[in-house]
């Protein structure tokens, strides 16, 4: 036998003129407490409105207080009383009241979704009956409750957050891009400065060097002038294009461009193209084709073939 004191709800129940009504009142108050966007006064008025025909015979304030405290023992007691003393028709009436209290004008809150279902189970109301009743009372079918434990729920209910996050990410990206650009500019500037400094330093040295070399160079230049001019006029176009295409990479060795020119190709030709060109050129210039011609012709062809072959070998070794 328990010697604990009577709890406030037990006292209310004992003093009540109708225990079932008091129990109903507590459960309806529980539903009301879980309704969102309703003030304290509105709750009290709504409960008074519902309980007009109840024969409880006591104040409503203590009931609301108990419901607000989420006193599980009291709610359990109320549920037991209700289950014990409610007939089938009566239970539908209780469900009716609970639904109207839960959804007077607004949405059914998440907690009330589960509370209503709990009451339906308690009062032996079938899901089908509950759905019909709900639809009749609110005009919309009883939906499955939303699930705040899922990502999708928050994407709908907290859309602002996601929009803001996307905006922030974009801004951060923009900022990063700007920072990178700035850093690049600074780097370039620094390199330029360094180059200038090195240049000025080198210039002084070069001045002396140049004076010394000038004599020597002039003599050599004269010797090479003729040879170089010939070559340059042949490949100037190719070289220009090559230097344009590979501006970023280290300046291409002159020899590659020349070897390509020997094969009749533009700079930047691929390996396959080189191989094809080599086959064609080799067939054209093979010394065996000229064996009917004079000795001189064969010698020239052989020299051309040699040049083509060496150019091809060079390209195959180094190119790409």
């Amino acid at each position: 036998m328990s010697i604990a004191r009577f709890s406030p709800f037990e006292l209310l129940l004992l003093k009540s003129r109708s225990q079932v009504d008091t129990a109903k009142l507590l459960l309806l108050a529980w539903v009301l407490v879980h309704r969102q966007h309703v003030s304290e006064g509105q709750r009290r008025r709504r409960l008074a409105q519902v309980s007009v025909h109840f024969r409880h015979g006591h104040e409503l304030a203590p009931i609301i207080h108990i419901a607000q405290q989420q006193d599980l023992k009291a709610i359990q007691l109320a549920a037991e009383v209700l289950r014990k003393e409610c007939s089938k028709e009566h239970s539908l009436g209780v469900m009716h009241q609970a639904i109207t209290v839960a959804t007077d004008s607004g949405e059914l809150s998440l907690a009330n979704h589960y509370i209503l279902r709990f009451l339906a189970d308690l009062l032996n109301v079938e899901p089908l009956t509950l759905n019909t009743l709900f639809q009749e009372l609110t005009g919309s079918p009883l939906a499955t409750p939303e699930d705040p434990s899922r990502d999708a729920y928050w994407r709908i209910h907290d859309a602002d957050y996601y929009a803001q996050k996307a905006r922030e990410a974009e801004a951060a990206q923009q900022q990063a891009r700007e920072a990178q650009e700035k850093a690049e500019r600074q780097e370039k500037k620094r390199q330029q400065e360094e180059a200038e400094r090195a240049h000025s330093k080198a210039q002084a040295e070069a001045e002396r060097e140049r004076n010394r070399q000038q004599e020597h160079a002039r003599r050599q230049e004269q010797r090479e002038h003729k040879k170089r001019q010939q070559r340059e006029s042949q490949q100037e176009g190719a070289k220009q294009r090559s230097s344009y295409q590979r501006a970023s990479s280290p300046p291409p060795p002159d020899r590659t461009a020349r070897a390509l020119a020997v094969l009749g190709l533009m700079p930047g030709a691929s390996q396959v193209e080189v191989r094809k060109a080599y086959r064609r050129m080799a067939q054209l210039h093979h010394p065996d084709r000229f064996y009917t011609e004079s000795e001189h012709q064969i010698a020239l062809a052989s020299a051309r073939f040699q040049r083509i072959k060496s150019a091809y070998d060079y390209l195959m070794h180094t190119y790409r």
């Binding site: 010697i3 009577f6 359990q76 998440l110 589960y114 509370i115 279902r117 189970d121 079938e126 434990s149």
Partner: protein, 142 residues
């Protein structure tokens, strides 16, 4: 609605750091994404906790009332929030017990009232007599 704490294997009172570790440890990528969405913002966690409290309350109520297999209690909710039926007695029986206990005590008190009245009047009478004798002897001596 699912009990993310239970599924991640952390207590609901865990701080953010523990939670994040548990989320990172979770092998299920879908659950990880959901948990991240719920726990990355404190406000969301708060409202989620509120729903969780309500649901575990209802789960407990159902366990006590024998409604863990109700037609309206199915899916994720029933999986995560159903409790084993505990040995707590019915509150209504408890109330009835308590009322009958109170009634017995009250009746006993009522039944014993006559005897108690006699005893009390006897003691009060003797007390008054002793006090009077004491005062009289004092005044006579003076």
């Amino acid at each position: 609605m699912r009990d993310l704490y239970q599924r991640l294997g952390v207590s609901p009172q865990a701080n953010d750091e523990e939670l994040q570790q548990a989320v990172a440890r979770c092998p299920n990528s879908a659950l990880r994404q959901d948990a991240k969405a719920v726990f990355e913002v404190p406000k969301r966690r708060e409202s989620y906790n509120q729903a969780l409290t309500t649901l575990s309350d209802i789960g407990q109520l159902r366990a006590r009332l024998g409604l863990t297999h109700g037609a309206h209690w199915q899916g994720d909710v029933a999986n995560d929030f159903s409790l084993p039926a505990d040995q707590a007695v019915s509150r209504h029986d408890e109330l009835v017990d308590r009322v009958s206990h109170a009634v017995i005590l009250y009746n006993r008190l009522r039944g014993l009232r006559g005897i108690w009245l006699l005893i009390i009047t006897f003691f009060v009478g003797t007390g008054i007599g002793v006090a009077l004798g004491f005062i009289l002897s004092k005044t006579l001596a003076a």
